[in-house]
Symmetry: C2
Subunit: 375 residues, 2 copies
């Protein structure tokens, strides 16, 4: 339980406590991996199994309470969480439900993450039963947690910077593993192995595409067709270190790129510059979107946005999108991810990870070269 010093968890809890006062909440009920980890340091692969739910209750002016399966009680006890209630999960007829009912019975206003980009990780039967059984009004606590998590601490930034550095080294070595004749699936496999070798804990996310004059499909699993001259290859990875993600991509020309691919790449590079220039505390997420759209002379994006927050999750608030008026603040970590259509077919996406400071933003990813790198 050493991802962060005790003082950092205390500071997070204190900020949440102030928010509970400001919003007249008696408690906030957390059920998601990122939030439980954020407030307790409890980091485990056991969330990968859908079998067991895990809960933490932040209580106003009291220490937090963990309500978790017995299998995790000892690890949780090594955190600073003084109070832990455990049950022998899985126990389908009562998987934490009676404990939650009991411990939340006096709560009048209960904060729960119910908003955009949240999932409440508990079977709906139990959600409905808990909601009906508790006297509490359920209040959306998404904004409270979002405000807290969006601004990163120095240690969080250091982890993201480190995993961005590892991925940058990996991307620099892609020419060793990707050439005409290699398949996308072999490139994926070797790229993951390389990131692990370079020090990543895991590579939970790797997508990409390859086609001529550029790729169109960035969502499919990789296939075994060989790369060929004139294609553009893109790899986009979310690798992790100590539970923190990088999320950026790189484009490569297989052999000789088309002029249209080079033009698209240049436009994306300039769009990133435009966003970098204005990415300061005080501007809004939608302003960064608008700056990139204006630079590329496009109002559209297939993906609906040109970047997002980054940290404990691959994608976090805010969205760099026309509809997101979130004010950018110092120590936010963002991705700049403009995308554009390529004349002749396909799209192109570039992505960098940046840290907002009180001056110019700091690149956490080693900036992609100004000219399309060749394989």
């Amino acid at each position: 339980m050493t991802d962060f010093p005790r003082a950092e968890y205390e500071a997070r809890l204190e900020t949440a406590n102030r928010a509970m006062h400001a919003n007249s909440l008696d408690a906030i009920l957390l059920a998601s991996e990122a939030e439980v980890r954020y407030f307790t340091g409890f980091r485990t692969q056991f969330w990968q199994s859908p079998t067991r739910p895990w809960f933490v209750i932040l209580r106003r002016d009291q220490t937090p309470l963990a309500i978790i399966p017995e299998i995790g009680a000892e690890l949780m006890a090594r955190s600073d969480i003084a109070e832990i209630e455990a049950w022998p999960a899985p126990r389908p007829h009562d998987d934490g439900l009676s404990l939650l009912k009991d411990r939340l019975g006096n709560c009048q206003r209960l904060g729960v993450l119910m908003g955009h980009e949240t999932t409440f990780r508990m079977p709906l039967n139990d959600v409905f039963e808990l909601r009906a059984a508790l006297p509490a009004e359920w209040i959306d606590a998404t904004d409270i947690i979002r405000d807290l998590r969006m601004v990163k601490s120095d240690r969080e930034i250091a982890y993201i910077r480190q995993i961005c550095g590892i991925a940058s080294q990996g991307f620099a070595r892609v020419p060793e593993i990707a050439n005409a004749g290699h398949s996308l699936s072999s490139v994926f496999r070797e790229f993951k192995r390389m990131l692990l070798e370079l020090g990543a804990d895991d590579v939970p996310y790797l997508v990409g595409g390859v086609d001529h004059p550029s790729y169109d499909d960035v969502i499919s699993p990789p296939d075994d067709r060989p790369l060929s001259n004139g294609q553009i290859l893109m790899l986009d990875t979310g690798a992790t270190l100590n539970g923190y993600f990088c999320d950026f991509d790189r484009n490569y020309a297989v052999g000789t790129p088309t002029k249209s691919a080079q033009r698209a790449y240049a436009k994306l590079y300039d769009a990133t510059d435009a966003a970098m220039e204005m990415a300061r505390p005080g501007v809004r997420a939608c302003d960064l979107f608008a700056a990139m759209a204006k630079s590329m002379d496009t109002q559209n994006s297939d993906v609906g946005r040109f970047g997002h927050g980054l940290g404990m999750q691959l994608t976090e608030w805010p969205s760099l999108a026309a509809w997101d008026e979130t004010i950018i603040r110092e120590n936010m970590v963002l991705t700049l991810e403009p995308s554009i259509g390529v004349d002749g077919g396909g799209i192109m996406v570039t992505e960098e990870n940046i840290l907002i400071t009180d001056g110019v933003p700091i690149l956490l990813s080693t900036r992609a070269p100004k000219e399309l790198p060749l394989l």
Copy 2:
């Protein structure tokens, strides 16, 4: 979209259709990765991001309808899903909600996965709004989907067998990467790299433990302390191939194991034999639990069960637990995962993956050696 032939998706949809008739459901609304993939073949890493929800509606006596973010529409169109409605996600004020309201407006009885081991992947605000807006009664469809997914097709079994084979090869090579002096974190890293090299698509799950006379903690991330003589090392992996998991572990003695560790290992081996002997169609999941408990002369298990189903998810229904009366059927894939305390400290867990047949079960994992292997 070639994980399964078209006929297999048609058969799955037909079985679901019969179940909708039997349960008087007009439709089943799916929002989870495994279920959407099971009925459409839609396989993508995009579920890793919490930003976008994805929905499929199974409609009684009609073709299914996908309601998904635009970024996935082209890939979904390559499936056999004829009807796709897409919206430019993320769109926080209406992330698929109005489409769902519109297309489910005539539904009277709506099936939704609400039971044990399910999560409905949609923000609770939207869940509550959808439930209030629809005239439909929400009926728990967990049993319907569970019954379908628990029995595997030949192709599903082939994928699981293949990834079990890859992990078996990896476990056989652990002596190359784990010895006194290596740390658990280095063993984790090298083991993941080896599984990728051997052909795994991914290694989303790897846990383990090491201690003397045996490990106690199987839930923490690995640390950098060196392995030392007299310890037991355990590695437990869920690697994937074509979206299907293996899930089994191996134990190794670092140098000379204690007598108590050897005794525990022998008991677990015998318990697995006892379960193998009775694992036939017609027995219940709880009978397998009881057979293992009786063999080890224990009624307790810290983990609450001695195995579970396996397939598209690391852990699936049923649970080999005292409370689970699920009837075992041919072509189920199960893990046998007995655990026991070790005299002198710690626990030991072994795990194998088996296929239920009409005769003796088939081991999909290469059975662990009868004697504790030494490093």
